[in-house]
Amino acid sequence: MARKSFRQAVNEAIRQEMARDPRVIVMGEDIAGGMGAPGEDDAWGGPLGVTKGLMPQFGRERVLDTPITESGFIGAAAGAALTGLRPVADLMFVDFMGVCFDQIFNQAAKFKYMFGGKARTPLVIRTMYGAGFRAASQHSQCLYPLFTHVPGLKVVIPSSPYEAKGLMIEAIRDDDPVIFFEHKMLYDVEDEVPDEPYTLPFGEANLTREGDDATIVAFGRMVMLANEAADQLGAQGISCTVIDPRTTSPLDIETILEEVRATGRLVVVDEASPRCNMASDIAAQVAERAFEALKAPIRRVSPPHTPVPFSPALEDLYLPDVEKIISAVRAVMAAGGRKAA
């Protein structure tokens, strides 16, 4: 097993699946790069180099550069999935869903149900999300709650290179449309990643820390921060469980409920805007089903209800961080007014 970056893990997953299954194709803007241009072929391998090397190995017929035409090629990917291919389409930044969402939520997501169960749509849409890149309001959002809201879509948010590879292979082999979220601040993070192909199941949460006092649920890049917060709190005598659900649709709510019943305290860390995000969804489900176990009100750690700001001073303020998570855990520890039933 070698140490690999998140970028390498995603690349390796796609490469191995393309080698395994000739129906797997990839498409997107600059996915190889340099199409029709006088210079280098495979000039970019995607804007951040994630798909570098696929085109030289598999050729232009299976690694398709597209014009900047998100509705066109995301829709084509949906239609190709419906008719026998297994496309991995790169919607470069999730913010661009604004120009192609119809093809995702009205078309791909609904084929199976609308057609009475007869359709299969094995489509993966990879997309970058998240703040911290000083990329401002139109290139930094965490729009996974919007996709989670739509029945028919699966939503995957890996938090590490190991997860990225296993979940990507699972996504490509899955017969439903999957939106695969890659946090742009995670690409250079390294981890032990097996060389051979492997899958991680959807809808099964991973416990990255186990403790008795409070449960922290976190998504994507926030898992790293939650782990760091839990480690610091542990050194101060507060032991936390950290849950990485890995997928928001399906969501492993049972594991979350089980851990909340064990600790009686819940903090949900979600980089998405605070209204109707994953934190509010989980808070609602826990309040509905495990209210009697709660020793303190649920706390949500999310950004304020604003667009993502540009200035580093403002963006740093905007984002959840380790200090904010620690402070939320301390708050649920202090608010011990209710006794568990």
Partner: protein, 321 residues
């Protein structure tokens, strides 16, 4: 292309089936028994049939909200369609799709579509599958004059041109996008738009089955042979409103009556095959009678068929979850 007697009979049967199906849905909708809303294709039969006569089951079409005609022309089961429109479990989509989402993937019918302009990118996808897997299949994207102004249509045409996809875009210009005249809503000329994407196009009298069949045949054959996408601008007309219940006050008072009398594609077909002595009235009348019986049977069965069961609400969302 010279059509055989068998092909002519098949074409007439298909157009007749669409017409009678739509006239029946029109009548039944007025009774209040059909849920939701429907958009009828009557008047436009020469387009669906003229195009789809050039396709096989392995070829795909992406349709529109006015999709019943495309479904029938592509071979969807008429009884299953009627049951679907009534929301019955025996419907082609188990009652979960309804009029605007009838699909039959086994016959290459990728779905009617509730989103104007939604189908063109999907047809590109089907064409990409054909090109990648080298199946020799083609795809057809039907769209109306309304869809022709959507960005998805422009994006799909550009993508088809850039990727040289085996896809034909068929613009069914029935004169009105909902209540808005296409003469007003389309800036410039659709043929020039196609030309701007490097896609050869042709404008055809959409009431004339033979003209549509020939033009579509040429574009589809070219696409199938690796010659890239094609475009047809069909000028035609619908007999009913945008949806059932539309008072059509935006149309001239005698417009539809005049169209039915002078430009009806079924009448034009009969006159043409009669004058050329290709088919006689008896054969055509027999088809009309057989179709009438088929539609009657489909309607009776649809009305008698059971509704979906409560358990059906939660199934078919995912392959696995």
């Amino acid at each position: 292309m010279q059509l055989s007697r068998e092909e002519l009979l098949r074409a007439y049967r298909s157009m007749c089936t669409i017409r009678q199906f739509e006239e029946r849905v029109h009548a039944e909708f007025a009774t209040g028994d059909i849920p939701g809303f429907v958009h009828l294709y009557a008047g436009e039969e020469a387009s669906a049939v003229g195009v789809c006569m050039n396709l096989t089951e392995r070829d795909s079409i992406a349709s529109t909200h006015r999709g019943h005609g495309h479904c029938i022309a592509k071979g969807c089961d008429v009884a299953g369609m009627m049951a679907e429109i009534y929301g019955r479990k025996s419907g082609l989509c188990a009652g979960k799709g309804g009029s605007m989402h009838i699909a039959d993937l086994d016959r290459g019918m990728l779905g009617a579509n509730g989103i104007v302009g939604g189908g063109a990118p999907l047809a590109c996808g089907a064409a990409l599958t054909a090109k990648t897997l080298k199946t020799g299949a083609v795809a057809v994207a039907f769209g109306g004059d309304g869809a022709s102004n959507q960005g998805t249509t422009a994006e799909a045409m550009n993508l088809a041109s850039v990727w040289r996809l085996p896809v034909v875009f068929v613009l069914e210009d029935n004169g009105y996008a909902e209540s808005t005249a296409s003469a007003w809503s389309i800036g410039g000329d659709p043929l020039v738009r196609a030309e701007g994407f490097g896609i050869p196009g042709v404008r055809v009298d959409g009431h004339d089955f033979f003209a549509v069949h020939a033009a579509a045949g040429e574009a589809i054959a070219r696409a199938r042979d690796g010659g890239g996408p094609g475009f047809l601008h069909l000028k035609l007309a619908r007999y009913f409103g945008h949806f059932e219940g539309d008072g059509m006050t935006y149309r001239a008072p005698d417009e539809v009556a005049k169209l039915r009398a002078e430009r009806d594609c079924l009448k034009l077909f009969r006159r043409r095959v009669g004058e050329a002595q290709l088919l006689d009235d008896a054969a055509l009348d027999a088809i009309e009678a057989e179709v009438a019986a088929e539609i009657e049977d489909a309607t009776r069965r649809a009305k008698a068929a059971p509704m979906p069961s409560p358990a059906d609400l939660l199934t078919d969302v995912y392959v696995s979850y």
